[in-house]
């Protein structure tokens, strides 16, 4: 009986202590700088949604170094959450991405465009290509003077091993039904006809990319086409070309939004991928590392067209 009482007392004590400590630390007013423990009720919020890393179709999050990626699924969850919270009056997309695959870039840009709240894109080190496409869907783009942005273009490059194979007497036997089925195969030369066909596809994607940017930024397509050479621009250049609206950072965006909302105090809500404590503790486990290596080694598909990836 004595043991039972001790067990109950100690476990309850520890549970209440943990709960109290966790709540106290989580309190938004808990700030190491000013130790302000008196919470001020704030009914206006600004959401910050990250657009970090490569833009990909699926966020499996599996690679050896756990590099961040952005996927439409992840952004959709964040945006749905923002839509359902009336206290969130504005959204800042925190952009630090070199771009990525075309389809997810377009999907995310569309989601951002359809979001019916004040939207700012704040570009950090890089907000280029697909990431710029997404940024252009916002009401305003703020970039650092030295941010890398622009790069409005499409690339689809791959290695051609045919020369290497013929040196070693390796033949590639193409058995296809449909003359262009193995277009883009790295095991054979790209014929001029095939090159023309692939180039046409890229041109279509390029046109759609440029048109979207022109529409989003309220610039003529002709003007955007002149800039859409794939060249990247620094922030100081981009502002002159009309690709960004202002030079600054997240604070600049927050202050502007506060002015717009006519408030002095807002709560910042940062959206991040949910990790629980076991994810954090297991980050460097051998299983995780093994999974990353295996994922890198497993071929995603056997079709030769998988070797051709179109990136914005």
């Amino acid at each position: 009986m004595k043991k039972f009482i001790w067990i109950v007392v100690i476990l309850s004590g520890l549970f209440f202590a943990s709960t109290f400590i966790a709540l106290f630390i989580e309190n938004p007013s808990f700030n190491l700088k000013d130790f302000n423990i008196f919470e001020v009720a704030v009914d206006k919020k600004i959401a910050i949604i990250p657009i970090y890393g490569m833009i990909v179709s699926e966020n499996n999050g599996v690679d050896l170094f756990n590099t961040q990626v952005t996927s439409p699924n992840k952004i959709k969850i964040f945006i749905e959450n923002v839509k359902s919270d009336d206290s969130i009056k504005a959204v800042i997309f925190d952009v630090n991405s070199p771009g990525g695959a075309v389809v997810p870039s377009q999907e995310i840009a569309q989601m951002v465009k359809e979001l019916n709240k004040t939207k700012y894109a704040v570009i950090g080190d890089v907000g280029a290509s697909g990431a710029y496409w997404i940024s252009s869907a916002c009401d305003k783009i703020i970039a650092n003077p030295l941010s890398v942005t622009g790069s409005i273009g499409v690339s689809s490059s791959y290695l051609d091993y045919s020369g290497l194979f013929s040196k070693f007497g390796v033949n590639y036997n193409s058995l296809i039904a449909g003359g262009l089925k193995d277009i883009g195969s790295p095991y054979k030369n790209l014929s001029s006809t095939e090159r023309e066909i692939m180039q046409k596809k890229l041109d279509i994607i390029h046109y759609i990319f440029a048109s979207n940017v022109a529409e989003n930024r309220n610039i003529s397509l002709e003007q955007v086409s002149k800039l859409a050479t794939g060249e990247f621009f620094l922030g100081v250049e981009a502002i002159k070309l009309g690709l960004v609206d202002e030079l600054g950072n997240k604070e600049t965006a927050i202050n502007e939004i506060k002015q717009k909302l006519n408030v002095s105090n807002v709560q910042i809500v940062e959206y991040k991928e949910q990790k629980n404590i076991l994810d954090i503790l297991s980050k460097f486990s051998s299983y995780y590392i093994g999974q990353g290596i295996a994922a890198g080694l497993i071929a995603k598909g056997s079709s030769v067209s998988d070797n051709v990836e179109i990136k914005a």
Binding site: K2, L14, F15, S18, E26
Partner: protein, 158 residues
């Protein structure tokens, strides 16, 4: 007339029982200590160690270490067992009555994963299944086996 006695026999706790007891304790600690911090940790970006949450996470981790330590010390000092040990009839014992300082020393490695690993590896080199910090504190984990002893009225075992 039959006389029935319970006889307790103490022996060094087998390694596998200690492991299972530890797993049970870990599960209980997860529910009682770690779970309340889940919401805070879910906001943490594993790739970023900057920003307001890094300070909060650091403070939270410090408290977790302290609460972890309190779990082991509070149970072993007050009842000589943790909940996991109770399940497997294991006790903390010393050559004499166990003092509070001994309990403090034997559990020093528990909050720190890498130190605890070294502590456990040390056990494989000791016949008494003693961790390094148990050796330092002069304590053991024993198993109490309770058996039934029947005797007739003239003391013959039945």
């Amino acid at each position: 007339m039959e006389k029935i006695e319970f006889v307790a026999k103490d022996g060094i706790a087998p390694f596998w029982k200690r492991v299972l007891a530890f797993i049970v304790d870990f599960i209980i600690m997860y529910i009682v200590i770690l779970y309340p911090f889940e919401k805070l940790f879910s906001k943490f970006d594993v790739n970023s160690f900057v920003g307001v949450y890094s300070n909060k996470i650091t403070i939270a981790l410090m408290f977790i270490l302290v609460l972890n330590y309190i779990y082991w010390v509070a149970f072993e000092w007050n009842i000589g067992q943790t909940p996991g040990k109770i399940l497997f009839n294991l006790y903390v014992a010393g050559r004499e009555k166990v003092k509070f300082e001994q309990i403090l020393i034997r559990n020093l490695s528990k909050p720190f994963v890498f130190i605890f690993l070294f502590d456990v590896i040390y056990m494989f080199f000791k016949k008494e299944n003693q961790r390094f910090f148990e050796k330092m504190s002069n304590t053991f984990v024993i198993e109490r086996i309770i058996s039934l002893k029947k005797q007739n009225s003239i003391g013959e075992k039945l």
